[in-house]
C-alpha cells in the first residue's frame, strides 16, 4: 500500500479503509515505518483476538521491544475480523514491508464517526518531524 494514501493515528498506527463485497467498511491496521524505526528490536506483539470489539484510541494490543513495552491502539471503533499471526511471528521482517505484508489487524468498522480524527499523510509526516526534533 502507498503510505501517502493511508490515514494515521497520532499513536503511530496506519489505517487503510476499504469497502468489501458485502458493503462493510474494513480497516486494515499496522504500525508505521517511523514507529518501527523508533521502537527497533521488536521481540513480541500481542494482537487482539478475532471477534473482540475495539475502540478508537483504546489499546488493543502490546508491542514489546528489547527496551520497553508500548501499547498498540485501535484507530477505529469496530470488531476484529482477522489478525496477521504470520507477521507477529516474524517481527524482524516487519520493517521490510510495514504497509503491506506487515499489516497486523483487520477491523470491521462499526462507527465511522471516528475516522475524521485520523491524520492524512502530510499531517502525520509533520507530527513525526516534530517528535524527531523533540528527541
Amino acid at each position: 500500500m502507498n503510505p501517502e494514501e493511508l490515514r494515521y493515528a497520532k499513536t503511530h498506527e496506519w489505517v487503510h479503509v476499504e469497502t468489501d463485497a458485502s458493503g462493510r467498511k474494513i480497516a486494515t491496521v499496522g504500525i508505521t515505518a517511523f514507529a518501527l524505526e523508533a521502537l527497533t528490536d521488536l521481540v513480541f506483539i500481542d494482537l487482539p483476538e478475532v471477534g473482540r470489539s475495539v475502540q478508537a484510541g483504546v489499546p488493543m494490543g502490546e508491542v514489546e521491544s528489547v527496551k520497553a513495552v508500548s501499547d498498540l491502539y485501535s484507530p477505529v471503533d469496530g470488531e476484529v475480523i482477522e489478525v496477521n499471526t504470520g507477521a507477529a511471528d516474524q517481527l524482524d521482517k516487519l520493517p521490510e514491508d510495514p504497509y503491506g505484508a506487515g499489516w497486523l489487524v483487520k477491523i470491521k468498522i462499526t462507527d465511522e464517526a471516528g475516522l475524521k480524527d485520523l491524520l492524512d499523510y502530510q499531517a502525520y509526516q509533520k507530527q513525526c518531524a516534530e517528535e524527531m526534533s523533540e528527541q
Partner: protein
Amino acid sequence: MSANDPALLRSPLHEWHIKHGARMVPFGGWCMPLHYTSIIHEHRTTRSAVGIADISHMGRLRFEGPGAAVFLAELITRRVADMVLNQIRYSFVTNEEGGILDDVLVGYYHDAYGQPFYVMVVNAANRTKIVDWVHRHLPPERAERPGHEVLFADVTALWAMFAVQGPRAVEVLQPLVDVDLHDMKYYHGAQVRILHPAAERQGGIISRTGYTGEDGFELSIGVGIAQGVWEAILDLGEPLGMVPTGIGARDTLRLEAGMPLYGHELSEDVNPFEAGLGFACHLVGYDFPGRDALKRIQSQPLGRVLVGIELDGRRPAREGCTILADGRPIGRVTSGTYSPTLQKPIAMGYVRPEYARPGTSLRVDVRGHLEAARVVRLPFYSRKRKGKSQ
C-alpha cells in the same frame, strides 16, 4: 526528560555519536547513545566479535597522597591496603545502615613519577552523591592531617572512557598500547602510552574489566584526544567486525551476565548480602560507614535474595513486576529484558529466600498476564574462558 535537555552532560564524543546515527537518550544525568543500529545487533556483535562503547558518563574520582589508602579503607566495604599495584577491586560504598550508596571499582596505580594514586569509578547517577559523601568524610582537618594528607578530585570531566568488549578485544587494542594485553589479568589495569598519533603522546589507563560478561578492556584517556583515539580504535577494529554499541546493548549484555545495575538491583534500601555480593564486604579490619550494620545483617537470616528468572512465554517481565509463587506475591522484578543470546525473556528480582532455589516455579505478573517462569542460576550467560584471565 528529552535528550536535548541543556541540563544533561555531554560526552566528548557527543557530536560523533549524532553524526553516526545514534539515538541519544538521557541516562544518569548524561545524554548518551541508546543504539546506533539496533540493540540486538550491537549485543550480538559484542558476543561474537567486539564492540566499543562510550562510557564517559561513568564518574571517575581520584585519590592520592600518603593518607589515601587508609582513607579509602575507611570509606568502602572492601580491603584497600593489601591491593597490589595495578589491581582493581569491586566494592560498595554503604551508608551507616549498610544500604548501598553505590557499587564502585577501585584501582590502584602509580603515576609517571612513581606516586601512588587510586581511581574510583562510580555510577553516573551517583557521582554527585558520592562526591558529597567523600567530602563529608574528608573535612579539611582530615584531608590535611600531617603525614596522612589526602588529595581528592572528581576527574570525570577531564577523562573520556571507552569499553572495548568481546572475544576480539585483545586483538583490536594490542597495537595501540605499550603493555602486553594478553598477559593482563582480569581485574588488573595499567598506565599505558597510547601508540597512535591521535593520542598526541598522551597516556591513559587501561584495565581488563567490563560490564558485558565478555573478555574486554576499559580505557580512560584525556578528553582532548578522545575522538581521535576512538576513531583509531574503530579503524583497527572494523576489519575484525567491531561496531560502536550504545547503552541499550550495555544493559542487555550486563543482564545476561547477571551483573547488577544500581537503581535496579542495588539501592540504599538493599544490602550487599541480599544482592549475593557479600564477597565485596570485608568486615574485619578498617571501620567504614555501615560496617557494624553489615556485621549485624550478616549474622541474621536474609529477608530476600536476588535471583535470575527465565520466563516461558515471549512477553518480557519488566522492572516492578510482581513475582508470585503458590498464588501469593513473593517478590519483585528489578530488571527484565529479552535476551538476544538465549532468545527468551530473562529477569532479575528479589524473592523470599525459600523461593530462591534454581528450578523453583514462579509466575510473574506482566501487566495482568501471569507468565510462567522459573528461578535459574546466575549468570544467564557465561563466556567460554580460555587463556590466563582467571
